[in-house]
Symmetry: D2
Subunit: 356 residues, 4 copies
C-alpha cells in the first residue's frame, strides 16, 4: 500500500498508478479526507518499493499483512456508504424484505406493498432458487425477474435477487438493482469474478460454513475486479445445534465492523429458520451494530413454495420494524457517553451523525 | 402429568402425591394461578392412569412428550422468579460481574466496589478454577472463598462461584449464595446430583458443545433432585469459527424462553473472548430477551492471572450497563404493540410488569 | 418408482415411460438382472398410480421415501461400475494421483510418469484453481489442460481436472476424461446441471460442510439431468479440530455404500492436509471399503505452488500403494467368512468377485 | 527438561531431582535406552538453569514448548507399554469388549464368555452410567461392579468400568483393573486429579467436542499426579453430520501417535452409533495404526437397556476380530518397505517387533 500526501495531485497519483500497472500489477487508488492511498495487487518487489518512494507525493510504503487488502479498514478506514437506488447504507437501519421466492404476479405485488407500507426500503424476491433437491421448485426465472421489477416500480423500492450462474449476470443486472450471491455460492469464484466486473451492487451472503476470514476474502475477489459496492450479510452458520436451522453468529457483526469498511446486515429469517424467533434475533442484530436486516415476509406463509416456516406475516413484520428501529436509535445515539473511546469499539458503535 | 382443579384441596393433592409415591415413582406438585399440576417421575403405567383419574380433584392426565418435564413450560407455564439474596430474576436485567478468579484480598475488594458502583447486582469470582493445563493457576481454594464472601458483604451483593467437586458442596455453600456449574461440568452427573440435593441456588452454564436440549436435560437432573432454583447461562458454543473464542448462540435465548420457565442469562465475556466485542454482544443479549448478563471485570486486566483478554475495565463496564439497561427497557416495555400475540413470542418478549 | 416384470418387453417399458412423460414428469428406466424399474421424477399423482398399474408388465408402484431417487440403492441395488477410459471402478482399488496444480510441462510429465510407475490409474492435475485469495496462483487455464492431456497420453492414463464455470464445460470435456466438481462448488447447481447434461464422467467431491445427505442430493442433480457416470469423493469435513486441515469423515464410506450404488473414493491428502498422515488415512480408507483413493503427488513438494504440505514425494507414494493394495485384498476377499450376512453390511464389505 | 548422560548414576539423578523439589517444583525422572531425562513441573527459573547445568551428569537443559510435557514424545520418545492384568498394549491389537451396561449376572457372564471365546482381551461393562436423562437407567452401582468382577474372573480377563465421582475411586479400584474416564468427564479436573493419585490404570476417552490438544492436556493432568498408566481412546467427535451418532476422527490416530507415547485405541461403537458400520470402522482404526479397539457386544442387543443400536451380536463380533487382526498384521509387518523412513511416520506405522 502506497501512502501519499492528502493533497497529492492527480498527476502525482497517476504516475504512481501507472508505474504499478506497467509492472504488471493491479493498482487501486483511494482518496480519503486524511490521506491518499494506492493499493497494490501483487508482489511489490516486481515494481520496487525504493522506486515508488522516490516518486513525488509518496510519503511511505505500508505493507498490509492481512490477506484481504481492499476490504480492510487499514486500506479504507472510514465506513463505506453503499447506495442502492436512493437507499444509503449509512444513515439508518436498512430493511430488505420480501418473499423467499417470487411465486406469481399477485403474490409479488401484494407482498411488496405490504412490506413497503411497514417500512421496508429494498424489495427482495428469488427468481432462480438454489434448492437442495432437483425436484423442488426452482424459481420462475426471467418471468420472476419481470414480476420483481414490476413490484419494485409499483412501490418505488429498489430490488435485489439471487444470481446462480455467470451466464445470467447481464440479464439479472437489467432487471434488478442489486445482485445477491447466496451462501452456497460464496466461494464460487467464477461468479464472484463475474459480478466484480459487472460493477452492479452486490449483496454477498456468508457461506453457512465459511469463516469470517473467508467471507472477507470472497468480498476481496469482488473488489479486486473493480466493484466496491458490496454489502456483507451474516445469515447463520452450520453448527451441531439442531434446535434452529442455523446458528446466528452474532459475534460476526462486531468482528466484521472492526475489520472491514463494508456495510454488514443480518438475515434473521435464515439464521433462525423459525418465524417465532425472527423478531428476537432481528433486535439482537440491531443491538450488535448491524447496518441493516434482511427479512422474509410472505402474504400467506402457510402456502409459500419455500421457506414458509421462517417467513413473517406482514403485520408481524410491521411490529418488528418498530422494535428494531427503537433499538437502533439506542445503540447509535447513546454511545457518546462511553469513556475513553477505543477506535475499534467506537467505529462499531458510534454513528457520527448522532454526535449530539 | 396429572392436572387437577385450580382449587383442589391440599388433602386431594396429597392423596395424588401419595398414590404416585406408593408406586415407587417421584411426584412433583406445582400450583399456579390457573391450575394444580402433579408431575410424575417414572412410568405412569406403574401407578395406573385410570386409578389416578378416579381420585378427587383430578381433571386429566397429560403426557409430557418432551424428555425434560420439570424444566418444561408445559409443566410450569409462568416464568420462574429465582431469588439470590435479595436479587430477583424477573423485574430487571440482572447483572452478575466480577473477576474471572479471586487473586487476592485487595483485587477482590477493589473490583467488587467498582462493579457495585457501576450497577452490578451479584458478585462473581472463582476460587476453584478449571484450567486446561495442570500447570496453570488453579485458584486460591478456601482462602479465595473467604475473600469473595468478604467482598460480597462489604458491598452488600450476594455471591456466586464455581464448584468442581462433589466433596466441596458443603464448603462452598457455606461461603456463597449461588453455586456455579461450569461449562466443562455441565454433564458431570455426580455434581448435578449433589447440587440438586443441596437446595442452594445454581447457575448452570451450557457446555461449549452441548445442545440446548442437553442443557435442559442437565437442568432436569438438578430439578429432579429437589432443587428448582436454577438459572441457565448461554456462554458460547464451539464451532469452526476462530475469530472469536466461542460463537455466541444468540438463538438459544428465544429458544430457551419458548421451552423453559427458568431464567436465562448470557455471558458475553466467554462467548466472545475479546473485551472489544463484549459490549456489542451484551446489547444483543438484552435485545434478544435475556434475563441477565454475566460479565468479567478486572481492576487491572493486563495483569489478570486468567482471562485478561476478555475482562473489561470498570469504566467500560459502567458504560455497558447504561447501554444494556436502555435496550432492556425498549424490549420489555414496547412489545405490547405486537398485533395478535402468539403465546410463545409473547412469553419471550413481553414482561407483564410493562403492560401499561 | 414403477416396478415391472424382469422380462417386460421394450414395448411395455416404452408405454410406461411415455405415459409418465406425457403427464409432464420425468421417467428414468433402469433394467437390472432381477427386475425392470422406471423411476418417476415429480408427483406421481399427476399421472395416476392406478392408471400405471393397469399397464402391461407393471407389477407394483413403490414410493421411494428418500428425497434422492436415482442415486439410491432402492432404485439401483447393484453397485454401479463407472468406467473412465479403460479404468473400471469395480474390480480394484482405483488410484487417482498427480499434482494439485499443473505448474508447467516438465512438472506435469515428470509427476505423471512417476505416479504411473508407482501404480496409479488416473492422472489428476488442476488447470483452474479455486483459491481463497484472488492474489494466489489461479492455475494455467487452457495451457494447463493441454499439458495435462499430453501427460495423460504419454503415460496412457485417463485424466481428471476441476471445472469452475459453466462456460468451461465444453472446453474441459475436450481435453480430459473426467470433470471434477470441487468441494466449494458441490452446491453450485448451475454447474451440476451443466455437467449433468454433458454426459461426461464426473468426480463429485463432498463440500467441506455438506452432510452425506446433501452430497447424495448434489449427485441426484447430475443423474436427474441424464448423467449417471458419477463417482463420489469424501475429502474431509470442517469441524472444530485444528490439528489437521479437515476431519476425514471415515464413517461416510460405509454410510454411502449402504445408501448409494455410486463408487466412493477417499482423498486423504485434503482430508488430513499433512503428508505425514496421508498413508495412515489412505490405509483406513481402503479398510473401510473405499473403491478408490485420490492422492496428491508432487515431484518437488517444497516448491509446489499450492498444497505442498500435503503432497507426497513419488517414492512415498509408491510405498503407500503397496500397503493399501494389501489392505484392499484383506477387506475384499475375506468377508465371505462373515456369518449371517446382512444385505447392507455385505454390500459394504463384500466384492462379488471375491466369492471364492 | 533436564537431559543427563545415559549412564548417569542414581546418585546423580537423585541430586537433580532433589534440587528441583527443594525449589518447590515437581520432578519427573524417566530413563530410556538412549538417555536419562528429568522433567520439571513449574517454572525452571525458580531453580535456575545455570545451577542445574553444573550438577554432575547433566548434559543440557531443553525447554519443552508444548504445554503438555509428560505426555509428549519429546519427553518419552519410545512408545509406552501399558499393562492391564497380563495384557500388554504393545504386541498385538488389544480388544476391549463387553456390554454397554451390566444389566444382570446372567447377561454379564454370558457376554463375557462370548467375547472371550471370540478373542477379546479385556472385559468392559458399565456399573455407573452417565445418562442424558435423570429418568434413564443409571446402572447397578456396586452390585454391577460385583457382577463385572465375577465375569472377569470366570473368563480370566481383566476388567474396565467407568467412574463418575471422586468419591468412588477407592471402591471401583477394588473391583476392577482399569478406570474409565468417559467422554463427558474428560475435563472433570477433580476426577482426573483423583485417578492420577490412585495409580490405577486409566482409560481416558476423548470428549466428544475436545480437541486432540485438550485430550493430551487431560492426560497430562493424570500423569502429573503420578500415574503414567494411561490409554487414550478416540470415540468420535460431534460435528454437523447427523447420519452417524458421532464422526469418527480417524485422523486423530496418526496425529496422536506422532505426539504422544501413550497407547491409542478406537471405539467404533460410539464413534458410529450403528452396529452396521462398526466393522468397517474397526478395520479403518486398525489400518490407521490403533493399538486397540473397544467394542460394545451384547448377547441380546434388541433388549439392551442402553446402546442396543450400536452393540454387536457375539457372532458378528467374532468375524470382526478375524478381519481386524489380518489388517493389523498388514500394517505392522510391512511398513519396513517404506523408503527413507521419517521418524514420525515410522513411529506411527512400524512396530519394532515386526522388523524382520
Amino acid at each position: 500500500m502506497v501512502v501519499m500526501q492528502a493533497n497529492a495531485s492527480a498527476e502525482d497519483v497517476n504516475r504512481v498508478v501507472n508505474r504499478i500497472r506497467d509492472s504488471g500489477l493491479q493498482a487501486y487508488p483511494h482518496r480519503s479526507a486524511e490521506r491518499m492511498v494506492v493499493g497494490i495487487g501483487g508482489n511489490i518487489q516486481e515494481v520496487g518499493a525504493d522506486q515508488l518512494m522516490q516518486l513525488p507525493g509518496v510519503t511511505s510504503i505500508v505493507p498490509i499483512q492481512k490477506p484481504y487488502k481492499l476490504t480492510s479498514r487499514d486500506f479504507h478506514p472510514e465506513r463505506s456508504c453503499v447506495q442502492i437506488g436512493d437507499v444509503h447504507f449509512d444513515d439508518k437501519l436498512v430493511i430488505i424484505a420480501g418473499p423467499c421466492a417470487i411465486e406469481g404476479r399477485n403474490q409479488a405485488l401484494e407482498t411488496a406493498h405490504a412490506v413497503h407500507e411497514a417500512g421496508a426500503h429494498i424489495l427482495r424476491g428469488g427468481a432462480y432458487k438454489p434448492r437442495t433437491s432437483p425436484y423442488s421448485f426452482q424459481g420462475l426465472g426471467e418471468r420472476g425477474l419481470e414480476m420483481l421489477a414490476e413490484a419494485g416500480e409499483a412501490t418505488g423500492m429498489p430490488t435485489v435477487t439471487e444470481i446462480l450462474d455467470t451466464k445470467h449476470v447481464d440479464l439479472v443486472t437489467r432487471y434488478t438493482d442489486m445482485l445477491q450471491i447466496g451462501a452456497r455460492n460464496m466461494q464460487n469464484y467464477a461468479l464472484l469474478h463475474a459480478v466484480g466486473e459487472s460493477r452492479h451492487p452486490v449483496l454477498l451472503k456468508r457461506g453457512s460454513s465459511a469463516t469470517i476470514h473467508e467471507l472477507l476474502m470472497a468480498a476481496e475477489y469482488i473488489l479486486s475486479h473493480g466493484n466496491n459496492r458490496v454489502v456483507l450479510c451474516e445469515r447463520g452458520i452450520r453448527t451441531f445445534e439442531t434446535a434452529t436451522r442455523n446458528t446466528t453468529d452474532i459475534n460476526a457483526i462486531p468482528v466484521l465492523k472492526a475489520h472491514t469498511h463494508l456495510p454488514i446486515i443480518l438475515d434473521p429469517s435464515h439464521s433462525t429458520g423459525h418465524w417465532e424467533y425472527v423478531q428476537a434475533i432481528a433486535c439482537a442484530g440491531a443491538a450488535a451494530g448491524a447496518d441493516g436486516l434482511m427479512i422474509e415476509v410472505h402474504n400467506n406463509p402457510c402456502e409459500a413454495l419455500s421457506d414458509g416456516f421462517q417467513s413473517l406475516k406482514p403485520e408481524r413484520f410491521a411490529a418488528l420494524i418498530q422494535q428494531v428501529n427503537r433499538i437502533y436509535s439506542v445503540v447509535n445515539c447513546t454511545a457518546v457517553n462511553t469513556p475513553q473511546p477505543d477506535p475499534n469499539v467506537a467505529a462499531a458503535h458510534m454513528n457520527p451523525a448522532c454526535a449530539l
